[in-house]
Symmetry: C2
Subunit: 418 residues, 2 copies
């Protein structure tokens, strides 16, 4: 197989299909989403059978239990895909929205219209449900997409691809709106991320290795999520109950997620009260604590954190704890060690809340709320293609709007520039 020629042909078809979906009416896009859902529902057995091939191969290749779990398409996972499609169909269409249209002194009206980006390349690992989620968000936002899933999920992804194609055709739309790379050859990724002529943006989803490789090698703009080193800062003006509730939820509600707290910062003036309370709860939940000297002196059994701990996204029942002098030192720590993902302050002090909100430069900055809220559904985006820790374009959870941009529109009546 000539990978370059194959990918170029996908690119060319995507560009063409992208123009068509960009001007497709909302109702027709929603019909397509619901037809895809129907196709998936009526193909449950085929999907499970194809998925079994991947699972068998995975077991043979020694994939670990966690990976196999993410790879599995059981009835529950299939139902979730169907519901995801229905939810995206129910979201308002972002395309064509016009904002800030107003008259200028020259007499022209100037505004901005929300438009699709064009063609989106998505590179992801094992979870086959990403195939449907990503396709749905791209379709609804008027973009064509080229999806490249993990080689370990290739049978599952091809089976899902056939359902998507069926749904698109049932809605009288070209199947090239959603294309799934049909080769496990890694060279396909290299092509995809450098086809500037055919692809407008790349969204990598998966482990850090994948994301770093893609962002280094891509010549196309990348929307990416890199690290999630999230902080909770308990100010000395914090309400103790709220502080405990938030610090426990942020760390223990789920461990392996990017918006879980990895480092707890506690102001000197409150550390003696709050840390022992928290430590006891963490101990019951089996969270290992690593602290600075002061934290260790307040928490029995706390081991000393190293410099590396402050830089680490554990994604596990481990928490680093630092006692700081106050909000300034807390913000300095977040600036030095954080990943600009999600950081929260717990305080009843108005001025400090206001400062933290303005000065902490992260994609989500919170007051008296758990970092776990940093999520497209919780924010009301309906769904998300990922969380961006980049500064340009989309920051934080990326929903439908993140897959669009704003062009200027000008309405005149024969107006010319003087």
């Amino acid at each position: 197989m000539d990978i370059k020629a194959y990918m170029t042909s996908l690119g060319r078809q995507a560009r063409k299909a992208g123009r068509e979906i960009s001007r497709t009416e909302s109702g027709k896009k929603d019909t397509a989403l619901l037809k895809i859902a129907e196709a998936i529902e009526s193909s449950r057995e085929m999907l499970v059978a194809e998925n079994r091939k991947d699972l068998d191969a995975g077991r043979k290749n020694g994939l670990d239990a966690a990976l196999l779990d993410r790879l599995a398409l059981n009835p529950k996972a299939i139902q979730a895909m169907v519901e995801g499609l229905e939810q995206v169909a129910a979201l308002p269409d972002p395309v064509g929205e016009i904002i800030d249209l107003s008259y200028r002194p020259s007499g022209i009206q100037v505004g901005q219209m929300r438009v699709p980006l064009g063609v989106i390349g998505i590179i992801y690992e094992s979870r086959p449900n990403v195939t449907v989620d990503a396709a749905a968000l791209c379709l609804k936002s008027g973009n064509a997409c080229i999806l490249r899933g993990g080689s370990e999920a290739i049978h599952s992804n091809q089976a899902i691809a056939s359902c998507i194609a069926k749904g698109l055709e049932a809605a009288d739309l070209p199947r090239e709106i959603v294309q799934i790379v049909a080769t496990a050859d890694r060279a396909a990724v290299g092509e995809l991320i450098t086809m500037n002529h055919y692809v407008d943006v790349i969204v990598p989803r998966g482990g850090k290795g994948l994301i770093e490789r893609v962002s280094q090698q891509a010549t196309i703009p990348v929307i990416k999520h890199l690290h999630g080193i999230c902080h909770v800062y308990i100010d000395d003006k914090a309400d103790i109950d709220k502080a405990v509730r938030i610090a426990v939820n942020a760390k223990t509600q789920r461990y392996g997620v990017c918006n879980a707290m990895e480092t707890l910062l506690a102001a000197e003036g409150i550390a003696r009260q709050v840390l022992p309370l928290l430590a006891e709860i963490y101990r019951q939940k089996g969270v290992e604590l690593r602290g600075c000297l002061k934290a260790c002196s307040l928490i029995p059994g706390c081991i000393r954190a190293t410099e590396e701990d402050w830089h680490t996204e554990y994604l596990a029942p481990i928490l680093s704890i630092r006692v700081v002098s106050g909000i300034d030192e807390a913000m300095e720590h977040i600036h030095c060690y954080g990943s600009a993902h999600t950081d929260t302050i717990v305080t009843e002090d108005y001025a400090r809340a206001r400062r933290f909100l303005r000065e902490v430069d992260s994609s989500s900055v919170m007051v008296n709320a758990s970092t776990r809220f940093a999520d497209g559904f919780e924010y009301g985006l309906g769904a998300e293609i990922g969380i961006s820790t980049d500064k340009l374009h989309a920051r934080g959870p990326v929903g439908l709007k993140g897959l669009t941009s704003l062009k200027y529109i000008v309405l005149g009546d024969g107006h010319i520039r003087q």
Copy 2:
């Protein structure tokens, strides 16, 4: 001079100064802008003297008249810099604006806050006034900047830099908010566009060679303006007077600008009426016409356009003209040959105006208005750092908002995720 060490030190200082300016109050930023204006006003003689060194060197090095003209800092150019600073000071501060703050079912409030990007690297050619314009926009939008002007303007830029530093210090702000690269060594550019740790976005301004080089080599996101192949499409439902007015203005109001029309598309049904009228006006103004076969048959003396003409941004009194069957062929031509900069339709037909606005994928799409309006001042942005033909982040004229991004903010009262 160790260029790498020098640029790294600029980067480190910029990052630090960027944090300070990001939280500086609007009033203080405006004071700084006005103090810089004062410093420039009271340094007119010094500026002219330093500029003379560049002009003398330029003449010695054989710079052509156009380049020398752009390099010159005469009293009028200095006055324009002062007025530019005053205008930027008068603009509303984009930083800290909160949008879409609303309650979610969970009880948290979620919104977005406009924040600076951080550190902006700007690379530009000869015009020393860019130094002041760019610095003013970055400062007002809460960003630090590192400016790298052309080596032919180095004395002028250093003189302007000293005025900017004086103004910043008079406003009690660190001078490192605006840093101007003090070496003509080209290696400095290579460092600047790969210092991902210290620089958040690169804005190249200048000729295509510069912009292409920068975007290929930068590892930092680039906001760029590449080509300006702008079209006017005269629909067969156009009002002839408006069509003539717009097509003349779009081509002849200024020739060397990116938003001037380069290709005129005329519908078959109106070409016979409108092209001879236009050709006569263009002839009087000395515009060379290059047309398709049909256009040539309607315009005496029109020479045949080649395939290359449709791809060419003349920036000169030359115009290519194509007769098309109607709006579909016009949009197809714009898609194939355009640069997604600015395109306009002249029509009285409601449905076609609506289609053109939605379907043409350019940074500015217009109805019955001259392409020359594509400009930050005309759009009410107050000033612009450039016009972006990229799709991500900012599209079209980039003003203060284009130098910011939106972070999420979450307000709770002890809320946790269930």
